[in-house]
């Protein structure tokens, strides 16, 4: 597909440096857990629902049982050993017949947790493993089910897949809109989340009808939308994929819910929350690793958020930061078990259209990503920064964006709206946007075949320059004693500085003790689950 001949030594060097820069992050993630990782374990073991005495009436405002239990364990014995040992020790000792009853005891204030030792610890580990295994089995079954449905209904007839956003705030409004979008040609439906959900330290429960500028990500909303898209997939003879957001403070839990409800793609970036949401770096790095292990197991395609860099910085001057982030996301994703076909690495069409040669520069950047990650289904994001409200110019710009996507073999194309920066898309905006995509793909979808930028030409040289700048930056990051973590503290990405001890959610990060046990990590990794031991043998 790719027609660029990048310097192979430079590509190898880039990946070596990315691996070195990311190593401190991987070490950190292996040495810590978070409240959300521990809540995800309880969710895999089937604990759902909310404490009825919390909140003021609305289901989505009540505190989930998983939060209540993890907080209680933390208060009584700490989380250094993980939640599984004390919880399944209590259950194995007969304190409660099942997890839900134990949660109710927590609600009533009568649950007592202790950390078991010796044979009691072994018994608790076995019980925890047995409790979490059905959750993992359901994720596995969903993956097989997706493969069956894709075999039955078929994949979209061509690349890129057409990705469309739905967001009304009300899941029951989203459903008909999503179905209509699928009928109009969308291959992937993303339900954008309610503003600020990424900063909630719990996952709301139930079917929700009151989001702001988006719809809450809840397990029930996931289930409802997936079922609706299954119906429309059967009608259309094409498997329509569903996307949501495993980001923010509850990244691990959302990933688990996505696996349990057969979502197909998840937005999941290793650094986005740190840079753009001021979430604590340690929290994010620990959470992203667990969530990616879940995505790997679930056969979910992740979408990373590099497009965001270009909305805050100049898309030409800072093009190399996208490449750097893609390489870091790749290395962290591989370490967590994701394969290349699951890496929807992000990039965007955000160069100032008034700049001379802007389209050629876009092609160079897009081809660089294609050449550097030949087996990844790259996520191609439309212009937003230079969409001014002039909808006519915006429609033209989206046409060029679509053409660049077709010409450079992008895997997933987020459909641009000419009313970007004006209104939440209208029915007619989506329709016109899809007509734009259809025209370009029909008329020029195979043009890549004839498109070979000459070696040494403008596009080839520009791609080489960006890769060289990326390698330079990666070198500087790798040379930091704390690698990526210190680089982020110094403001290497974008203009914000994010110190390791700043931001939201740090209080939810816990360093693991020697007896730490996480049955989900064990089952997902196929390893011991005793995270420190695993590290000691170099796994």
């Amino acid at each position: 597909m790719s027609t660029l001949n990048l310097d192979p030594t430079l590509m190898v060097r880039a990946r070596e440096l990315a691996a070195r820069a990311a190593q401190p992050v991987i070490d950190l993630a292996q040495r810590h857990t978070t409240v959300s990782v521990e809540r995800a374990v309880l969710r895999l073991a089937g604990l759902s629902g909310t404490d009825p005495v919390t909140g003021d009436g609305v289901e989505q405002d009540k505190v989930p049982w998983v939060n209540r239990v993890v907080d209680a364990v933390r208060d009584q014995v700490g989380l250094e050993s993980g939640v599984a040992l004390p919880v399944w020790h209590a259950l194995a000792s007969g304190a409660a017949p099942d997890l839900h009853t134990l949660a109710e005891q927590v609600g009533a204030g009568t649950a007592r947790f202790t950390i078991p030792e010796g044979p009691a610890a072994e018994r608790a580990r076995e019980a925890a493993r047995a409790a979490v295994a059905p959750g993992i089995a359901r994720i596995d079954a969903n993956r097989r089910r997706r493969e069956e449905l894709v075999a039955t209904h078929g994949d979209p007839p061509r690349r890129p897949w057409i990705y469309l956003i739905v967001a009304t705030g009300d899941i029951y409004e989203d459903i008909p809109q999503a179905q209509a979008a699928a009928r109009a040609g969308a291959d992937v439906i993303a339900v954008i989340r309610s503003t600020g959900q990424s900063l909630l330290d719990y996952v709301p429960e139930g079917a929700t009808r009151t989001g702001y500028a988006g719809t809450y990500a809840t397990q029930e909303n996931f289930r409802l939308m997936r079922a609706a898209l299954d119906d429309v997939s059967a009608e259309l003879g094409r498997y329509v994929r569903l996307t949501n957001y495993a980001s923010g403070l509850c990244m691990p839990e959302i990933a688990v819910l996505a696996g349990l409800e057969r979502l197909d793609m998840m937005l999941n970036d290793a650094m986005y929350g740190i840079l753009f949401r001021d979430i604590n770096p340690r929290r994010t790095f620990v959470d992203q690793r667990f969530s990616r292990m879940v995505h790997a197991r679930a056969g979910i395609i992740i979408n990373t958020g590099e497009d965001n860099y270009l909305t805050t910085a100049d898309a030409v001057d800072e093009a190399h930061t996208v490449t750097v982030s893609q390489l870091l996301n790749e290395t962290l994703a591989h370490e967590a078990g994701l394969e290349d076909w699951q890496l929807g690495l992000g990039h965007a069409f955000e160069i100032d259209p008034d700049r001379a040669e802007s389209f050629r520069l876009e092609l160079a950047h897009a081809l660089l990503a294609r050449a550097l990650f030949p087996d990844a289904p790259l996520k191609w994001m439309p212009p937003t920064k230079h969409m001014t409200g002039d909808v006519f110019r915006g429609y033209l710009l989206d046409g060029f964006f679509n053409l660049a996507g077709a010409l450079t073999g992008q895997g997933i194309l987020l459909v641009g709206m000419m009313t970007e920066a004006v209104v939440t898309p209208w029915l007619s905006d989506r329709d016109l946007a899809l007509r734009n995509v259809r025209y370009v793909l029909n008329s020029a979808g195979n043009l890549a075949e004839d498109f070979a930028p000459p070696p040494g030409g403008f596009i080839d040289r520009r791609a080489h320059t960006v890769l060289t700048e990326a390698v330079d930056l990666l070198g500087r990051i790798a040379d930091h004693p704390e690698g990526l973590i210190q680089a982020i503290a110094d403001g290497t990405f974008g203009i914000t500085k994010r110190p390791p001890d700043g931001g939201k959610g740090l209080a939810g990060v816990v360093e693991l003790g020697p007896d730490a046990y996480n049955p989900a990590v064990e089952l997902l990794a196929g390893g011991s689950g005793r995270v420190r031991e695993e590290e000691a043998v170099g796994a």
Binding site: F276, R277, L427, S428, I495
Partner: protein, 248 residues
């Protein structure tokens, strides 16, 4: 150019009144739909109107493009423009105003005070992610922004503002139970007045239930209501804190 104060839209001839519009009606395409579009266009004052294009969307909707001459006249003498007390600036203008005229970073502290744990307001204004398509204040190179997050006590906030020599303190309040937002804001204003007197930083509060006209009553410099964007806040800070350019 017209010589009087009355103008009409211009297509290709002075006074032709030509406009172009598009809209969707919730009816299937067909002659009846086109008739419906013409009726709407006429009611909008477009007469004669031409439906130059229509197509169905998903069976139950039709999209139209309409051209025609609009009857209405524009009386320029009757046009009154509300001037904002301060101009809305872009990020480049904000950065250069601070750099050129303040010649140091503008120090901004943000927090949710009292028991309010809803940081969505202050986050929307400060986080790079921003709000309504606008980047937050953190994105502005010439501002040094610290977001202290939720449940910050007033004495803590005063101490931080003093230590960091804050130019402005931004506080968001979402919870309004028993007018907690008003009580908290008065407490904030009183604490800063007592601790720092006239050297206190600029105090700005915001939240969905605030009335922007209440600033003086609450003892703060500015109150922002629902739907405020980061750009409005940043522009206000520049207006209030940066000396005006000396006229050449």
């Amino acid at each position: 150019m017209p010589d009087g104060s009355i103008v009409r839209p211009y297509g290709d001839t002075t006074g032709d009144g030509m406009v172009q519009t598009s809209f969707t009606l919730p009816i299937p395409p067909g002659p009846k739909a086109e008739g419906a579009a013409l009726q709407l266009a006429n009611k909008m004052g477009i007469e004669p109107a031409m439906v130059v294009h229509s197509h169905g969307i998903g069976g139950q909707f039709t999209f139209f493009v309409v051209y025609g001459s609009v009857r209405h006249l524009v009386d320029l003498d009757a046009v009154h423009v509300e001037e904002r007390a301060y101009p809305l600036l872009g990020s480049k203008e904000i950065n250069s105003a601070i750099k050129d005229r303040l010649r140091r970073k503008l120090v901004v502290l943000g927090a949710c005070i009292g028991t309010d744990a809803h940081t969505v307001g202050i986050d929307a204004i400060l986080n790079v992610k921003g709000f309504a398509g606008e980047k937050g204040l953190e994105y502005l190179r010439e501002m040094a922004v610290t977001n202290l997050g939720a449940q910050v006590t007033v004495p803590e906030l005063v101490a931080r503002a003093r230590a960091e020599r804050a130019d402005a303190v931004l506080v968001s309040q979402v919870v309004t139970q028993k007018d907690a937002h008003l009580r908290n804001t008065r407490e904030l204003a009183a604490a800063f007045r007592e601790a720092m007197g006239e050297y206190r930083p600029l105090l700005v509060v915001g939240g969905p239930r605030f009335d922007p006209a209440m600033a003086a009553d609450l003892g703060v410099d500015k109150v922002f209501g629902r739907g405020t964007t980061p750009g409005e806040v940043a522009s206000y800070l520049v207006h209030a804190l940066i000396p005006q350019e000396i006229p050449a």
